[in-house]
């Protein structure tokens, strides 16, 4: 799926080599070996190699009809397999697992989602939103099993038939979709001897510990003043903004990565929008709604640092503007007539 045309690359003086892999980088040299046998010498190098789907490690993972979702090719394979399935088991209730489940609602299939944590989206949203999304899925016919782990996949003639859980439960499954997170592609960084954790460690200029090597996007772990332990964000916004910083710095500009993170997820008719990061929050305030809308505000001391909302686009937009200057306080929210859009308008006057 080309996002840009060939003309775009030529006008911007970018040589695009499709179907070519960087097979190795040698530490201490500025040289890359490509899969077509040629070498490229570089002054600066940007690693934007992304991540791959984390694979299930239990017995039976090599059976047929076990799918992952990462590339467009994966999506096509999965789409072709779905109409033949009666019992679909989704392993993992993260964004990918739940979005897949929500897109299967039209199918005459039983969909079961299995999650090892005690709530859905545990890594990414507040418990109130986990409960909200769990009910949304259950109400629409999804069978949701939390705090349950997969023991093995059981097959017949090389094709998956059942999923066995650690507690002994056996679930019928003729199609299994695994969405249990991603692993950064670190091989090239390791060959260069770069500092890596669960991502390639970069500073706020997207620079690794080697001055002419940069990394951005899903493969990069950003260590900045507010997240000393490092954070590997996996989002389109992060990939675009962080690589823009890398490109500017390589081109000699003095730029640092300070964009406000934001993210979305569409499930059924529910649009989740998140702005900011809840790390370091000391308190959260729920603004309850109905079965189709809700929001949670995260505060660090008295300052709002993150807003998660469902089907409240105006609140999200207002929060995006307000968080950029850090101006929503707990007092504001305690106001019975609290209306974040009005607050935004008042403050921007």
């Amino acid at each position: 799926m080309p996002l840009k045309t060939a003309a775009f690359y030529s006008t911007h003086k970018i040589d695009l080599e499709l179907g070519t892999k960087v097979v190795s980088l040698e530490s201490g040299t500025n040289n890359a070996l490509l899969s077509n046998g040629t070498h490229i010498a570089f002054d600066s190098l940007a690693l934007a190699v992304g991540a791959r789907a984390r694979t299930l490690t239990c017995p039976g993972t090599n059976l047929g009809n076990v799918y992952y979702l990462r590339s467009i090719a994966d999506a096509h394979l999965l789409r072709a397999a779905i109409p033949n399935a009666e019992n679909i088991v989704v392993i993992g209730a993260g964004f990918i697992g739940l979005e897949v489940a929500s897109s299967l609602v039209q199918q005459p299939t039983q969909v079961t989602v299995i999650e090892a944590e005690n709530r859905v989206l545990a890594r990414v949203v507040a418990p109130e939103l986990s409960r909200f999304f769990a009910s949304a899925h259950v109400d629409r016919g999804v069978r949701l099993l939390t705090s349950r782990k997969v023991q093995s996949l059981v097959g017949e003639n090389g094709v998956v038939r059942q999923v066995q859980l650690e507690d002994g439960t056996l679930l019928d499954a003729d199609l299994v979709i695994v969405g249990i997170g991603s692993v950064a592609n670190l091989e090239l960084a390791q060959q260069l001897g770069l500092l890596v954790m669960n991502g390639i460690v970069v500073d706020s200029q997207s620079r690794t510990n080697r001055p002419n090597v940069f990394a951005a996007g899903d493969c990069a772990l950003f260590r900045g003043p507010f997240n000393a332990s490092g954070l590997r964000l996996e989002s389109v916004q992060n990939a675009m903004d962080q690589s823009r910083v890398a490109a500017s710095v390589i081109a000699g500009a003095d730029k640092t990565y300070d964009s406000l993170p934001w993210f979305w997820s569409d499930q059924y008719d529910l649009k989740l929008q998140i702005v900011g990061l809840p790390c370091g929050a000391t308190e959260r305030v729920l603004r309850p709604g109905t079965a189709s809308e809700i929001s949670v505000f995260h505060f660090q001391n008295d300052t709002c640092i993150c807003v998660e909302s469902v089907n409240r686009p105006r609140e999200h937009i207002a929060a995006r503007r307000l968080l950029a200057c850090g101006k929503v306080t707990k007092q504001d929210l305690e106001d019975v007539d609290f209306d974040i859009s009005a607050l935004m308008k008042r403050q921007s006057k």
Binding site: F8, W264, K271, P313, R314, I317, R320
Partner: protein, 106 residues
Amino acid sequence: MKLLIYDHDGQLVELEDVSAKTLMLGIRDAGLNLTAQCGGCASCGTCHVYVDNAWQAKLKPPSELEDAMLDVVEERRESSRLSCQIELTKDLDGLTVTLAPGSAFE
């Protein structure tokens, strides 16, 4: 169908035989500079266009979501729309729009 697009430099680009599902996809597939960061789910506001006067009445009015997203874009006008929310139906043959500031990928 045909689309007439004024790009960020004011140049008119005529797109013939467009078969894309939405205006955003039509513009992007033609290689014009449009960020469309969220891929078309009305989450980012970076596919903002101004619709030519003659065409505004032919479009379905924006949903609440689109309307809220338009509040975040640079320089919202009466004619502002998110191009990813405009489905290209036969009656829109010849649709004329201008790419708005802030939708260019820089």
